[in-house]
């Protein structure tokens, strides 16, 4: 009887392994940041040729005698229609929030070899054309976006000054029409944090362009 139970257990386990092996699911993300995690810092080249890190941005605030409260880390690019739809709003959010201690930190995660429209040259041009008031960094070698778990552009990670992840998702609830926005997720999340509360929602899903990598 014992043997029979053992055998059936082995069979069940073997069947489990077999089904697991034949299940060809591609995970959305292998890992990445979750709410409450501490986000890693980075050293990335800006469109002005200078290297930036979250720490260096904090130091700039310190030098200017201003308090940095957090970062609106935004994975975005030139070539995704969703990212483009959000450019003006990203500029507006930075202009409104950076003075209050919450700058936008834009990172371009696509491989320019796959997506030539996202090369450093094109990033410089786009920034110039639009007059980006924030840094626009190239994720050279595509090392930063996987650590964050970014999957698309645009994809926002709201961090506190000590880099605690407070919100992940979209800027607001209407990509196509700024006039029809009902929930400004990021601005609301910052409001909550400043009141000592946790943002609600702290995670939103949104359509976006997959990040372009070499196969």
């Amino acid at each position: 009887m014992k043997n029979l139970i053992r055998l059936s257990l082995i069979l069940v386990a073997a069947f489990g392994l077999w089904t697991a092996a034949t299940y060809v699911e591609v995970p959305v993300k292998a890992d990445g940041l979750e709410i409450g995690d501490t986000a890693p810092d980075f050293q990335l080249k800006n469109i002005d040729g200078k290297m930036y890190s979250l720490e260096s941005i904090a130091k700039e605030y310190e030098k200017a005698g201003k308090e940095l409260k957090g970062y609106i880390v935004t994975f975005t690019c030139n070539t995704c229609p969703f990212a483009v739809k959000y450019e003006d709003r990203l500029i507006a959010v930075h202009n409104k929030m950076a003075a209050k201690g919450w700058p936008v930190v834009a990172i371009q995660p696509n491989d320019p070899a796959v997506q030539p429209g996202d090369s450093m040259d094109k990033m410089q041009k786009r920034s110039e054309d639009k007059g980006f008031p924030f840094v626009y960094l190239m994720d050279e070698g595509q090392k930063v976006y996987p650590q964050y778990g970014a999957t698309r552009t645009p994809h926002i990670f709201l961090l506190t000054a000590d880099r605690e992840v407070k919100y992940i998702g979209a800027l607001d609830d209407n990509a196509n029409n700024p006039d029809a926005v009902e929930k400004e997720y990021v601005v609301q999340a910052i409001g909550a944090i400043e009141e000592g509360k946790n943002p609600d929602p702290d995670f939103t899903r949104a359509i976006g362009c997959s990040i372009k990598t070499k196969k």
Partner: protein
């Protein structure tokens, strides 16, 4: 041909609604004698598409979710795409080929476009016409993405393309583009015969 396909589609919906006693829309489906009636059951009353396009335009989440709750002996291949999404456009021919090669089998290919509502009558319409797409195309224009993406699939955070293949026995979620027709057809074949 397309019309017939949509009609069958509509019948499936009519069946779903009428077989689901708890559904508030069930009352509407008592008189489904003409095609128009059936179609009106298929989508929520509030959906009332006013687009001049040869495919359905939906905005209600419940209509979309119904696509994933067809409890019959068919295998459903549902792909989310958009005309602006390069990898999506690249893999579309695989789905069209699947639709062709599995004709006569219980396999349904549905291509859900999430193009912006403002692009439906222009970019999307001309894309569908130019590419002579034969699979069922549905435009889903609900821009409050956070309200429905997780309802479709918990593991999906919004990047496209994604594909969900399901039948009464199994369900698989694919994030990212298919590398080849073979990759896609192999999964469908296996699921369809299981």
């Amino acid at each position: 041909m397309r019309k017939t396909g949509l009609f069958v589609f509509a019948l499936i919906f009519a069946f779903t609604f009428s077989s689901c006693g708890g559904n508030s829309s069930a009352a509407d489906s008592t008189e489904t004698s003409s095609e128009e009636d059936v179609v009106s059951v298929k989508v929520s009353e509030t959906d009332a598409p006013t687009y001049d396009v040869p495919f359905p335009v939906w905005s209600q989440t419940e209509d979309l979710l119904n696509l994933f709750e067809q409890n019959n002996d068919s295998t459903y291949v549902i792909n989310f795409w958009a005309t602006w999404c390069k990898p999506c456009v690249k893999e579309l021919p695989y789905f069209e080929q699947l639709h062709q090669e599995f004709k006569g089998e219980k396999v349904r290919v549905i291509l859900v476009s999430i193009d912006f509502d403002t692009d439906v009558e222009t970019k999307l319409k001309s894309f569908v016409e130019e590419h002579e797409m034969n699979s069922d195309v549905i435009a889903f224009i609900n821009g409050d993405y956070n309200s429905w993406i997780g309802e479709v699939e918990e593991a999906w955070d919004g990047a496209i393309p994604v594909t969900i293949i399901y039948n009464a026995k199994d369900r698989k979620f694919f994030s990212g583009e298919m590398d080849s027709y073979e990759e896609l057809s192999k999964v469908v074949e296996e699921m369809n015969k299981a």
